[in-house]
Symmetry: C2
Subunit: 270 residues, 2 copies
Amino acid sequence: MSFMQALHARWNQAGTLVCVGLDPEPAKFPARFAGDPDAVFAFCRDIVDATAEFACAFKPQIAHFAALGAEGALERLIAHVHAEHPGVPVILDSKRGDIGSTAQHYATEAFDRYAADAVTANPYLGRDSVQPFLDRADRGVVVLCRTSNPGAGDLQDLVVDGRPLYQHVADKVANEWNSHGNCMLVVGATWPEQLREVRAIVGDVPFLVPGVGAQGGDAGAVVTHARTADGSGLVISSSRAILYASSGDDYAEAAAREARALRDTINRAH
Amino acid sequence: MSFMQALHARWNQAGTLVCVGLDPEPAKFPARFAGDPDAVFAFCRDIVDATAEFACAFKPQIAHFAALGAEGALERLIAHVHAEHPGVPVILDSKRGDIGSTAQHYATEAFDRYAADAVTANPYLGRDSVQPFLDRADRGVVVLCRTSNPGAGDLQDLVVDGRPLYQHVADKVANEWNSHGNCMLVVGATWPEQLREVRAIVGDVPFLVPGVGAQGGDAGAVVTHARTADGSGLVISSSRAILYASSGDDYAEAAAREARALRDTINRAH
């Protein structure tokens, strides 16, 4: 089954649009992990196991592992998701982008080394920089369009031929780069109007939507502005609000509570 | 000494604008490395030691290490450059870009974990995504402007207010993001006219220029189009043409010959 088939199956069967972001920061871990050399893996694994029933995807953010030299923990974590929660795809959030011959190595990193089902990618270098990802038709390619951060508009809002750059990216991805049907777009929850505009351009291309929770985006508004006709089309990601819901020994239960509450907020907005 | 001071000192003292790109691909290594579990480090170390006298910088490209799970080799390689060739700065080519809280982890990855002197960064997410790099005033931040690949123009040439996007990036970096004087720009050797145009916009901001050698850019044209008034301002990077100059036991000598030849070609163009 391809990533895109798996995502649709998960939406349908589990009734959730929630993506659990895995951004380990040891300074925020519960006290029980102090001094544990395997804390990064163990904490993330506990979060995964506690939240899987509420998740349509998991999204490990690779910088959080790389800063710690914890690539091994990331490999094991993704293998754990595949083994224990095989219906829940893994989107590796690495936002890579480089010339084609180098992008091929990034595709190897994401899809072969880490066995991710999908990867985020930066479009600034153009289509040939994304092609090695696109060519893996069974995997997903999630292209940055309108990101959730305050400075997103510095480049993305510059107006080209009467419309902002991010809309050109949306158009290119939906109408040129998506020949294998394996593309998604990143559109931040912090920009509800832009969510609506991008949805109008790209039809049913799914969105990865970061920015609810700690960044302040409104999950209900995301749904009303950007769902597809069948009520899905969205992978709404929350990281810190779920991961660090409690710093006590109830961290896993608290994370599950947050993930469930986000699922319910989203489903009520339909 | 900051990265920018070190780069200027190296230009002046060694009389070279050549950057040796370190893109290890074990399939291209000389036969003597077959079966060597430490081949990635050992091959790159030999190239570094053979070419250092002709180099103003080394540029390891991180995807080539990550695809192999060779982060440890990359750490040791950069440590080796610092220990054995302390005047030659290391630019980690990773083209990272993410929201500010995550970009902070990428800055930790590049500058603390790997101890790189400079890092390449993608501007698509806007200034706040680059700020954690900019804030490290002693390190360099090399922002993608006009990349060397065939598809560079897909986004970078889109016209905003009468000039292409890459010129807006050049302008922002030189006039807004460079308050610590630690910025550079990536402009590909494959685009001589664009090199000239960007130079006209940014004054003495140095360029990292990939694309000579295997990608077909003309080193002489780079110099005539983009040098600064003092004849420097350029870090002209060649990877494959140096690394894989010979597949025999003379790989290190051949790499040194190529690096010296590129230095001489560049210096003759002055």
